[in-house]
C-alpha cells in the first residue's frame, strides 16, 4: 500500500463516520423538535383552550435555529459527536415552552437570546478550527476570565440584582460576565495543568512530615483560584463559587491522577463553607431555609416551600403542560424552572430532564476519554463538569438536597448570558470531538 492509497482509505473511513453521525444527529433533532412542538401545543391547549396564535416566532426558534446549527456542524465539524446538539435543543426547547407559558414577554427575549446563542455557537466553530490553538493563549484566557469576574464590581457598569452583584449593564443590554468567565478559566486551567501535571503529581517538597508538590508549580494557579473565589464571595454569588471550586478540584484530580487532591478539596471545602457560614448572614439564611423552610414559610422559605409543593402536586405524570398554578414560585422562569417542569410533566418529565443532562455529561466524558491530545481531553472534562455540575447544583437546591444557591439550569432557564455561554461551551466540545475523530498528526521538523 502506498502513502496516497492509505491516506485516501483513511479519508473514506472518516467520511463514512461523519455521514453516519450527521444522519443520526438529524434524526434525533427532528424527534426533539416534535417533542417540543407537542409540548407547546398541549401547553396552549391547557392554558387557553385554543391553538397558539403566535406560532410563527415559536417555530422559528424551535425548528430553524437547531437546523441551522446542524447545517453548521455539517460544514465545519462533520465528524463531531451526534448527541450534543439534539440534547441541547431538547432542553432549550422545553425550557422555552415553559417560559412562554409563564411569561410571554420573557419568551420573546429568550427566543432572541437563543438566536444569539446559536450564532455564538456557529462563530465558535468557525473561529476555533483547532482546539490546541486555545492552549497557546492559556494565560490570556486566564486574564480575560479574571477581568470578566471583576467587571460587576466596577462602579458605573456593575448592577446588583436580588442581592447578587453579578450583572453588568452596558447601555440597554444587561448580562452576567461570570458565565463567560467560567469557560475562559476552564481553558486556562486545562492549559496550565497540562503543562505541569507531571510536576504536580510528584511530591518533591517537604513541609514538616508531609510531602507536597513544589509550591513554585502550584502558586500561579492557587493565586488565580483564590482570587476568583474571593471575588465571587464578594459578589454574593455562592452557586458560581461552588461550581468554580469543583471545576478546579476535578481538573486537578483528572490532570494528575492523584486521588489525594479530592481529599484535600473536600477538607478545604468543608473548612471554607464553615468559615463562610460563620461570617456571612446570607449564608446562614440559606442554610436555615434548607434545613427548615417552615421556620419562615411566607418570607424567606416561601420559594423553597412553593417549589416543593409544585413537585408534589405534579405526581407521576404531572398536571399537564399549561395546567399547573403558574407564577406562584418566585424566579420560576430561571432558578425554579425545574419545579415548574416537575409540576406540569410530573416525575417522568423531571426525570427526562435529568436523563438529558446525564447523557450530555456522558457524551462529554466520552469525548474526553477518546481524545489523544492531553489538553483537549482535559478541557473536555472541564467543560463537561461545568454543565453537569451547574445542573446538579440548581436541581439539588430546588429539591432541597443542597442549600439553594442561585445558578441557572443550563439551556433550560431563562437567561441570556447563560444560554450564550452554554452554546459556546457546546461548540468547543463539538470541536474537540470532531478533531478526535479526524486525528490530525503533529509534524516533526528535521534539523
Amino acid at each position: 500500500m502506498t502513502i496516497t492509497e492509505s491516506t485516501t482509505h483513511q479519508q473514506v473511513v472518516v467520511k463514512a463516520l461523519g455521514r453516519r453521525r450527521r444522519t443520526t444527529e438529524l434524526g434525533l433533532l427532528i424527534l426533539a423538535v416534535l417533542v417540543i412542538c407537542g409540548t407547546y401545543a398541549l401547553a396552549s391547549l391547557g392554558k387557553s383552550a385554543s391553538l397558539p396564535a403566535d406560532i410563527v416566532p415559536f417555530l422559528g426558534v424551535i425548528v430553524a435555529l437547531p437546523i441551522l446549527a446542524h447545517l453548521a456542524n455539517r460544514k465545519f465539524a462533520p465528524t463531531s459527536d451526534p448527541l450534543f446538539l439534539p440534547l441541547a435543543a431538547l432542553l432549550n426547547g422545553l425550557g422555552y415552552v415553559f417560559i412562554a407559558r409563564l411569561d410571554g414577554d420573557l419568551a420573546g427575549l429568550q427566543a432572541l437570546w437563543t438566536a444569539v446563542g446559536i450564532f455564538g455557537y456557529i462563530a465558535t466553530l468557525i473561529l476555533v478550527r483547532d482546539v490546541r490553538f486555545l492552549q497557546r493563549y492559556r494565560y490570556t484566557f486566564g486574564l480575560i476570565g479574571v477581568l470578566l469576574l471583576i467587571m460587576p464590581l466596577l462602579p458605573g457598569i456593575g448592577r446588583s440584582i436580588n442581592g447578587s452583584r453579578i450583572w453588568v449593564s452596558l447601555g440597554p443590554i444587561g448580562f452576567q460576565p461570570g458565565e463567560l468567565a467560567k469557560i475562559a478559566l476552564a481553558i486556562f486551567f486545562a492549559g496550565y495543568l497540562v503543562d505541569r501535571r507531571e510536576l504536580l503529581g510528584v511530591a518533591t517538597f517537604r513541609i514538616g512530615r508531609i510531602n507536597t508538590p513544589d509550591p513554585k508549580y502550584f502558586a500561579p494557579i492557587l493565586v488565580a483560584v483564590g482570587f476568583s473565589l474571593i471575588v465571587m464571595v464578594f459578589e454574593k454569588d455562592l452557586g458560581s463559587a461552588l461550581l468554580f471550586f469543583v471545576l478546579f478540584i476535578v481538573m486537578l484530580w483528572v490532570a494528575t491522577g492523584r486521588g489525594s487532591y479530592l481529599v484535600v478539596g473536600v477538607v478545604l471545602f468543608s473548612a471554607s463553607s464553615y468559615a463562610a457560614w460563620r461570617m456571612f448572614s446570607h449564608v446562614q439564611t440559606r442554610v436555615t431555609i434548607w434545613i427548615n423552610p417552615w421556620s419562615d414559610p411566607s418570607g424567606k422559605g416561601f420559594q423553597v416551600i412553593q417549589g416543593a409543593y409544585a413537585l408534589a402536586w405534579g405526581g407521576t405524570t404531572g398536571t399537564g403542560p399549561g395546567l399547573g398554578i403558574a407564577g406562584r414560585i418566585p424566579a420560576d422562569e430561571s432558578d425554579f424552572i425545574f419545579a415548574v417542569i416537575g409540576e406540569e410533566l410530573g416525575l417522568l418529565g423531571a426525570t427526562a430532564v435529568l436523563c438529558a443532562f446525564l447523557l450530555l455529561a456522558g457524551s462529554g466524558l466520552r469525548v474526553a476519554q477518546r481524545s489523544s491530545d492531553p489538553f483537549s481531553s482535559l478541557l473536555a472534562v472541564g467543560l463537561t463538569t461545568l454543565i453537569a455540575f451547574q445542573a446538579f447544583i440548581i436541581i439539588a437546591g430546588v429539591i432541597r438536597l443542597l442549600p439553594l444557591t442561585g445558578v441557572t439550569l443550563p439551556f433550560v432557564s431563562y437567561g441570556g448570558s447563560s444560554l450564550v455561554a452554554n452554546y459556546i461551551l457546546l461548540a468547543l466540545l463539538i470541536r474537540i470531538s470532531d478533531q478526535t475523530a479526524r486525528k490530525i498528526p503533529e509534524p516533526l521538523v528535521a534539523r
Binding site: M1, Q10, T39, G346, G349, L359, P374, P441, R447
Partner: protein, 182 residues
C-alpha cells in the same frame, strides 16, 4: 377540550419524550460499538499512514507505543514502587531507533544528550538537536529537562516543561531516540 383527552395527549407526549431518549441511547450504543464495516479498517489505516510517512515514522511509532504500553506499565510500576521497597533507577536503555536498540548508559548526577561531541551521551540522529536535553538525578528521582531543542523532550508522550520527573520504566524521547529508565 375534555379533561380525558388532555390526559391522553399528555401521556402521548411523555411517551414521545422517552422515545427520543431511546433513540439517543441507541445512538450511544452505535457510538460505543461502531458497525464493523466502518470501524475495523480504521486502526490499520492509521498505522499504515504513520509508518509510511517516511521521516515521521519513528515519532509516530514511538508515540503510539507509548500511549498504549508505556503508560500502562508506568502506572503499574509506579504503584509497585510505592508499596514495595523502592528500586532506584540506575541506567538508561535505548529502545528506538531499532538499529541501536539495547545500548545502555549509566545514569549520573548530570547527563547531557545531543548530537554535539561534547555531550555525555552523543546521539547522532536526524531529529536530535546539537545539545538537546539534560537528564539528572536528585534524591534518587530522575528528571529530564529540555534544552531548547527543535523537536522537544518527551516523557511518556507528554512534552517536558521545566524539569519533568521520570520514574522507573518511563520512556524519555529525545527527537527520534527513545530511552527507557531502568
Amino acid at each position: 377540550m375534555s379533561e380525558q383527552l388532555l390526559t391522553v395527549l399528555k401521556l402521548c407526549l411523555l411517551a414521545l419524550l422517552y422515545l427520543f431518549f431511546l433513540r439517543v441511547l441507541r445512538a450511544v450504543w452505535t457510538e460505543v460499538n461502531p458497525p464493523r464495516v466502518a470501524a475495523t479498517p480504521a486502526p490499520i489505516a492509521a498505522g499504515a499512514v504513520s509508518t509510511k510517512k517516511g521521516g515521521s515514522s519513528a515519532k509516530a511509532k514511538a508515540s503510539t507505543a507509548k500511549a498504549s504500553t508505556a503508560k500502562a506499565s508506568k502506572s503499574a510500576k509506579s504503584a509497585m514502587n510505592r508499596r514495595k521497597a523502592p528500586v532506584v533507577p540506575t541506567r538508561l536503555v535505548l529502545v528506538e531507533p531499532a538499529a541501536r536498540a539495547g545500548a545502555e548508559y549509566a545514569l549520573g548526577p548530570e547527563l547531557t544528550l545531543g548530537r554535539a561531541a561534547g555531550c555525555s551521551i552523543v546521539l547522532d540522529e536526524q531529529y536530535v538537536s546539537q545539545v538537546h536535553s539534560r537528564i539528572f538525578v536528585r534524591d534518587g528521582s530522575v528528571f529530564a529537562e529540555d534544552l531548547g531543542s527543535t523537536n522537544g523532550t518527551w516523557v511518556n508522550g507528554s512534552r517536558a516543561v521545566g524539569q519533568m520527573p521520570a520514574r522507573l520504566g518511563d520512556r524519555i524521547q529525545v527527537g527520534n531516540v527513545v530511552l527507557e529508565v531502568r
